[in-house]
Symmetry: C2
Subunit: 285 residues, 2 copies
């Protein structure tokens, strides 16, 4: 059996940064809980380890006060919650990925300038909830692809600004832009697709084209991992797993070429575990 | 023989406006010359008729003074000449097409805001010369299609603004936008393609698909007429003529379905003359 891991599999810059920030905050807290509003990153195993050290994941900030330490998750949070945190004088560490700040700031700017805002991404995803909070209530729409574009609203808007989830595939953004171009007088496109996502997707596609089987590692709720899995499925048999516990031995046989890729929230140790597990399996088969 | 004229052939809004403005200016001038800096519109025959009434086409404004009347052509002129005209206190009528003002203003705005400017159109065309004059010398490029994009300059520009000649085809603009999207963080597209151009092009394509022969009427130097001719050529035998003098009788035979289209600077009387000429020819054949 031959096994190959995608070069840029796993932790991206923003996730690494959030992980480091939370570790430092926990170290400094001297045993007092450090809070994270929602999951810090989209990986149960990583969160589990941080929780053992003193991280506490909460769903609202009502019970926090000036003596509490709060980490803002990599995906970012809504503007109104960020303001509440500031007003309550809570001690906070902003681990919002700098790449997520780009569409947040752009939405704030272009909403003020009177542009209608189109946010391309997954409705209800934490990153999108954060981004859309920077637009006025009736001045934006979230859509997943060009078929969800609200043509009537667009035709009435002379100026449109488009931002995207950082993990979006470029091809979806391209299709939306082509659809909008004839309908509006001025179109601003903020290309907030993260390079790391794009590179990881391309590498995953390349490897999927060569191998007999792809193993995609990442959280079940991780949008970017799911996208890797979808891309991979176009080219070869593929499985989306969280850890080695999800692996079924019968997927493999000794003449196989197996590829491994992993989402941006998957730590190196989990990738290594999967690699070693399959390698050992190869010896047995 | 069957003959059909494209519904929106001939004079567009901007040309009609410039033509009306010049006629009024000539009427008011009481026999004193009214000047036009370059051809008012791209049609020799129309210019000829206006010259008979008192219009004088000039190539520079050096000899004009406060008592002179000047019409600014439909294509617009360069910013520095417009300023010279104002400084010399020349009495001027601005017949610049309102649709041409859109890319002019956009280039001025986004150049000031630090965006690199891409002007899509024909290098050296009067409209483009006017538009590019609103950008700083080294902060813009004019290109005809995506193959002419200066990739090196683009990669170094984080923010890019794209404007187009009003007569551009949307498909060229779409290709350029797709090429730029992955290369920049913020892309502003001013869709300054005039509806009339687009509608005329579509109608010409539709008719060209149905007929045996297309006659495209318009000035030899008219970019939009040339484009109609190119579109038409993709589907059927086509000829670009200025007037009935360019028609060769052997092009036609009695069983033919003939289509007629005309550029934005072609007046109704020339289109009617061509229609009647071919109709009479049909009776003879």
């Amino acid at each position: 059996m031959k096994i190959q891991i995608v070069k840029n599999a796993g932790f991206c810059y923003g996730v690494k940064r959030a992980h480091n920030m939370s570790q430092k905050a926990i170290e400094k807290s001297n045993g007092i809980n450090v809070y994270s509003l929602g999951d810090l990153i989209n990986n149960k195993q990583v969160i589990g380890k941080l929780e053992e050290k003193g991280l506490k994941v909460i769903t609202n900030i009502d019970n926090l006060n000036e003596s509490s330490s709060l980490i803002i998750r990599a995906h970012g949070i809504a503007k109104e919650i960020q303001e509440k945190i500031k007003n309550k004088n809570i001690n906070f560490f902003d681990a919002t990925c700098p790449y997520v700040k780009i569409p947040q700031k752009a939405v704030e700017k272009y909403n003020k300038l009177g542009y209608f805002i189109i946010i391309v991404g997954d409705k209800g995803h934490p990153e999108i909830i954060g981004i859309q909070s920077y637009a006025e209530k009736n001045n934006f729409v979230v859509c997943k692809n060009k078929d969800e574009l609200p043509i009537q609203k667009i035709v009435n808007a002379k100026k449109i600004a488009v931002v995207s989830q950082t993990t979006l595939s470029l091809s979806i953004l391209k299709k939306i832009v082509l659809e909008l171009l004839p309908l509006t007088q001025e179109l601003v496109v903020i290309n907030s697709i993260c390079d790391a996502t794009d590179i990881r997707q391309k590498e995953t596609e390349e490897l999927a084209k060569k191998v007999d089987l792809m193993i995609i590692i990442g959280g079940r709720h991780s949008a970017n991992t799911t996208r890797l899995y979808e891309i991979s499925l176009n080219f070869t048999k593929s499985y989306h797993i969280e850890t080695i516990k999800d692996i079924k031995n019968e997927w493999f046989n000794k003449d196989m070429f197996v590829g491994i890729s992993a989402g941006a929230s998957t730590p190196k140790n989990i990738i290594d575990e999967v690699y070693n597990y399959i390698k050992n399996l190869a010896k047995l088969k």
